[in-house]
């Protein structure tokens, strides 16, 4: 099983993601450069958080034209797992691999804190290790995480169960006070129709140990591992 973590100019969570794969799963993981074009030997590609291209123009707007993004699109089309975290999520939105866009946080502030998320769908390659409705604690750190999409798109995502995580209270209720950025329908993470591309603003790679304040993010990595192991077994038999 091989994971790739893309480093764009300005990525700053690439090492965290790399370390999370190594520490949580002990699987092979390699850095990918934004100018690489070949992802054939990988099973998972992670677009990490950070400030690619200084967030100039719009978050993710320049990074989506990196050479590697053509390969990421082909990789996604062939069924490979793509996980975008924070700025990685913003890049996936700009690239059109996920629907919607990010607006400035409602507060106009950079928000860096632990938040609570409710697992809305656990039949995904990224969340199968969670229980449905489970409330997890994972940190966010962003200025532009206010998810927006037009009404038709949001209804489509809701109807087809593509909202994977929602911001919630510690008890799991959806209320405005626990929506840290103003996201539509409290959306913190969504996936594509095929279910192999997911973006989330919270940082699971920063919540892999109680020492860091929470280990709830580990299950994102463990989910991908069990999905790929099961897929491998199916392909062998």
């Amino acid at each position: 099983m091989k994971f790739g973590v893309i480093t764009f100019p300005g990525s700053n969570c690439d090492y965290d993601a790399y370390r999370a794969v190594k520490e949580v799963l002990g699987e092979e993981v390699e850095y990918l450069w934004h100018q690489d074009r070949d992802l054939r030997e990988f099973d998972v590609v992670i677009l990490p958080g950070g400030f690619s291209y200084g967030d100039y123009l719009r978050t993710g707007a320049i990074a989506r034209f990196s050479a590697i993004m053509g390969a990421v699109k082909r990789f996604a089309r062939s069924g490979g797992l793509v996980l975008g975290i924070c700025n990685g999520f913003q890049i996936l939105l700009e690239a059109g691999l996920l629907p919607g866009a990010m607006l400035r946080n409602r507060s106009l502030r950079f928000v860096c804190k632990y938040v609570y998320l409710r697992v809305e769908n656990n039949s995904t390659p990224f969340t199968n290790a969670y229980k449905i409705g489970e409330v997890v604690k994972i940190p966010i750190a962003h200025s532009d995480g206010n998810y927006f999409a037009d009404q038709t798109t949001v209804e489509e995502s809701e109807k087809s169960n593509r909202v994977v995580f929602r911001y919630c209270s510690p008890g799991g209720e959806l209320d405005d006070r626990h929506n840290p950025n103003g996201s539509l329908n409290f959306i913190a993470g969504i996936m594509n129709s095929r279910g192999n591309v997911m973006g989330m603003m919270p940082h699971p790679e920063r919540a892999t140990s109680q020492l860091l304040g929470s280990s709830d993010g580990r299950l994102v990595f463990e989910s991908m591992y069990s999905y790929l192991s099961a897929k491998g077994r199916r392909e062998v038999s």
Binding site: L57, R58, A61, F65, L93, E94, G100, A101, L103, R104, N105, R106, S107, L108, N146, F148, A149, D150, G182
Partner: protein, 90 residues
Amino acid sequence: MSTSRKSRKAHLWRVDVSLKEGVLDPQGTTIRRALTDMGYENIKKVKSGKFFEIELDGDRAREAAKTLEEVCRKLLANPVIERYEIKRLK
């Protein structure tokens, strides 16, 4: 302005990008609130956005406008949330 006029001179254009109607504009809203607090109670709405001044070389105006349309769609604006307006300055 004549769009068919042949010109070898550089053109100067301006592109305005702003949030579409109905998309939450937290910056505009905050600025409007600040103005209200400052006593400008007749200011009802502020919309924030950004602009780009773009110089193009040699193209005819019509071609330049077409190029800029393309550039707006591909990069300068995100059609999910933003609209754009292209104007020739010189």
